[in-house]
Symmetry: C3
Subunit: 439 residues, 3 copies
């Protein structure tokens, strides 16, 4: 059986994160590598990876670093959806294929369950249906009493769902050539060609079995979905302190903590796990890192900085900051006193503007999302949910209330006036204050 | 002998503190309860408490929680002064009565002294006279050579005081019915009916003995008077660490410290007494609480926060703040980096505007006074002596220079402009900086 | 042999530092005293110090505190250069004289080398030539093959230097009377009379030997040159902890550290040497002082403050600040949250405006230069390289982007508006948050 990984798409809703989601690192490995390893755990050994012109090289490099698997690579020229991706890989689609979206994170049981079902219950295709407990804005699976797919309903309104089963792209097909034929004959300008093809197969009598699944599932659609993925991988990992890590005797390491090679933890720093810290990073004096935080490699969490429940990339520098519930991509610096607000004064959920409409993030605690290569000036304030495009500067003391596009600078306007200072300071006051302090 | 507690008044000068002064908690008990207990210590067992429509319920609840005392409750419909209060309680005024203002804190010796004097020196009434060393803006007692009251002079100008004895409302009357008669015959529209009645009694030959007193006395007229009361109760209390408090081995507890039930003190926190911390409160990593600070219950003094010589109510949250010489009422939150300035740049005493005239607080160190239920945004600055009315928001990065009324929001105006960022950052700088750091 | 110390000049480029450079204290002693002691180490015992009307008294006081040396004092009325200074001291110039600029710091070997050379190689005068490896904006020495001075070239353009030898004012003259004659006959309105005199002597056949020197040399021309001098003296000093210093057991002292009398280091403070802390200073809880920092006497580095690679004078107060790569003269206070930015967002070298032209400081890390007696308000931000004139105030939350003259106040303009607060906060949120925190 071949696993078909769809890596050719693009994530419009991920602004300001420009990297493909499956290329983000979690605990020192790209998500793609982790996904392949999860599939390997379920016994899969043969992979077809469909990349695009801008990520093909990285995808190949990652694949080649993995042992015990065989890879074929297909190029999808443009991000035109699942059907187009499969067409791009058609020379490699033969025998049983398991089509997977590597931006959705699920546990190995998703694989084992669908594979086991395919062995015992004869059908043309098998699709995973995630059992949701509340409304989720996705495609829903209409199923008959035998658990067979009747129809895929794209984004029904809340209350109009045909079932509690959401379509997850973990689909096993026994005859991919047939599937490609059906794909070929769909007439639509919409982007659900693949789903229409499946629907048509069902209509013409092909049996598509729905496999209910309720273990871990975390789709990454928006940047704040990264938190759940960090939580999952931290919960799954074992604690580990590299033998080359250097931890001051006056530092505190508590709970499940993973420290990479050459990590330094200075005096009075506190790391309260679950927390991951990548290689060569420094946790400075009196810093606090806690609550499912993930810090990449070569980063410096300087003096008196708190990182709480945040995802930090590689090569980031912090200095006397508070970074809470934030996603900070690689190569960013925060000047001393720069702060991410992660809770609205009115204590409501944080909303984000996407394509000029408001999206409720569902989170009452959400800090900033900062793209790659940004600089945040001293004493700057980033409002909850604000997004800073890559390679942008937020000037000192700017209170950033709206998203900033990539390659911009938000700079303070003149804000002070100069006067003559007529004050005569009292003599001896300092001495008196020092005395009071010593009393 | 009955103690008559006047709880029906209102404290106009306490803005933004809306709670009655005697209902403020000190070290876990309301001031009223503490006052009753002080009176009990002096042997008093029978109390008449005169409340008003809005506090009667609370007053009764407090009284009923106290053992070993008998209570009668009288309702004063409007806050019309001492004479009106006593009229409201007239059915209960019989035998010897000791009229007390529970917003003035004094030591038990004020009671014992006046009671002892009443036993040995026959007179109609006895009033406490506080021996001041410098001018105090209150009523002064004119006394003859036998220590008998001649006249009460309301707020004389400095230099025109008839004595150094200030009238404290701790007055013992042997015949309250007679007093009520005199009160009834005063013809005035001013608010000093009670003082006029006393004056009239003196004029008509009743002997009113003045008892000089110089122990602790702290009237609460303005919010910053709360500090002295905290100091008094902390000085009087014994150190105590609840057995359910949890103190990290890496925390420092020094001096006289009182920690309530379930208090948590995290790593590298420092508490330098005298300090009181109420039940369930958390003192976070690297926080510092010092110098006669009082923190209520269920409060969180988060990471890297300093609380210095401040009174904090219940349910307050702090996070990387400096709170110095401030009064923060219950249910307030301070965002990360919000700071109270507690010392003017010109090092002068802090003044406050009350009814459009400036009041010198007499303090060179005074921070903010924040009413109940406020939210202070990240990186906000509160200027010395500034007062924030209850349920108001001070937005992020606002530098609040003037008092803010209740139920308002002070929000930053637009303060930055956006430019294209043409900067080309040098390659390899980060690596070089990391190297320098390691050198 | 007499050492002639030129202390009569003025340092225009040192704004906002108003004190004469040689009167600045380093590790508890004035630079002048250190310079005299260095000369003593080389065997010099007789000093002529040329002061000016405003520093003569201080200069004499310092000289008189030094043992084992003989002093003569000459008054230079106006700062008119080297030639004028020597003329002012002419009665004292006899025998061999070694003319020295005490604002240039060099090691004792500069003296020993020139003295040794004067003993073995007969010449009229000897001048030290500093061997530079890259262009330095100073006077260059043109030398013949015998190492004899041909000509002094003032500030040649880069690439036009006649040698790699920069003229340092450590000049030994065997016949000062002759030198004074030549000085007297120079006809110029420029300020290089002394150099012209030397040139003329060379032209007329006097032999002036150039002594190449490549050990430590640090001229103090701009305030940021102070850093190198601090580094030099710290590197030369022995670690020392005064027996009256009080260091908490929970503090960390690492590397070479000098703590003066009565210094207090509180819990969780970290001092990472090389660092000097003057007498009576306090390093507060959780503070960090590191990286060649120099803190004067009677200063308070309060709670949660970081001082990194900075020169701090006496009587300074800090409180939750970051002071990096900065020079802060005596009697300054920084309010809580005030920060010096020490690195540009674009990571370029910091430039400073001197006499309306930009001077590249050559440093990518440079904070603020603050004159004596300044007050910096809470949450203020000082931009890299900004200079604050003495006795000036920078108001709270001001982001100071341009130099501020002496005796000024930079105050924030109105920046917020007030609105009604219609928010209804959800009940029970706080309890829920406290619960989440405990989970």
């Amino acid at each position: 059986m071949k696993a078909i990984f769809l890596c050719g798409g693009s994530g419009k809703r991920m602004f300001p994160i420009t990297e493909d989601k499956f290329l983000l690192d979690f605990l020192g490995k790209s998500l793609l590598q982790r996904q392949i390893e999860i599939a390997q755990e379920a016994g899969l050994k043969h992979f077809v990876i469909i990349g695009n012109p801008s990520n093909m090289e990285k995808v190949e490099r990652i694949a080649k670093s993995i042992f015990g698997a065989r890879f074929e690579f297909a190029l999808q020229e443009k991000p035109l959806g699942i059907a187009d991706a499969l067409r791009s890989a058609s020379p490699f689609l033969q025998g049983q294929v398991l089509v997977v979206n590597p931006n959705d994170v699920f546990s190995v049981s998703a694989y084992t369950k669908i594979i086991a079902e395919a062995k015992k219950a004869p059908a043309s295709s098998y699709v995973l249906g995630y059992q949701v407990e509340e409304y989720f804005p996705g495609g829903y699976l209409e199923v008959n009493s035998q658990g067979e797919l009747q129809h895929i309903v794209e984004k029904p309104k809340p209350g109009e769902e045909p079932s509690n089963l959401v379509n997850i792209l973990t689909h096993l097909h026994n005859d991919p050539k047939k599937l490609l034929q059906y794909i070929g004959s769909v007439q639509t300008i919409r982007d659900d060609v693949y789903e229409c093809a499946l629907d048509n197969m069902v209509k013409e009598g092909y049996k598509v079995k729905v496999i209910p699944y309720s273990n871990f599932w975390a789709p990454i659609k928006y940047p704040w979905h990264i938190f759940k993925v960090v939580e999952y991988f931290l919960d799954s990992a074992e604690p580990y302190i590299s033998p080359t890590a250097h931890i001051s005797e006056k530092a505190t390491i508590e709970g499940k903590v993973i420290l990479g090679d050459n990590v330094k933890v200075l005096e009075n720093a506190v790391i309260r796990g679950p927390v991951y810290i990548g290689a060569n990073s420094i946790i400075g004096n009196n810093a606090l890192v806690r609550d499912y935080s993930h810090i990449g490699a070569n980063s410096v969490v300087g003096y008196s900085t708190e990182i709480k429940h945040s995802y930090i990339g590689d090569n980031c520098w912090f200095h006397s900051n508070y970074i809470g519930d934030s996603v900070i991509d690689g190569d960013c610096s925060f000047g001393s006193g720069a702060i991410t607000a992660n809770f609205r004064l009115d204590e409501e959920n944080v909303c984000v503007e996407v394509s000029s409409s408001k999206v409720d993030t569902g989170r009452d605690k959400l800090g900033a999302i900062v793209g790659e290569g940004c600089r945040i000036g001293i004493n700057a304030s980033l409002m909850p949910g604000v997004r800073v495009g890559s390679n942008s500067f937020v000037g000192p003391q700017v209170c950033l209330r709206r998203d900033l596009e990539a390659n911009k600078m938000a700079l303070l306007e003149p804000q002070y006036q100069i006067w003559n200072n007529e004050t005569r300071l009292a003599q001896g006051k300092r001495q008196e204050l020092l005395q009071r302090l010593s009393d």
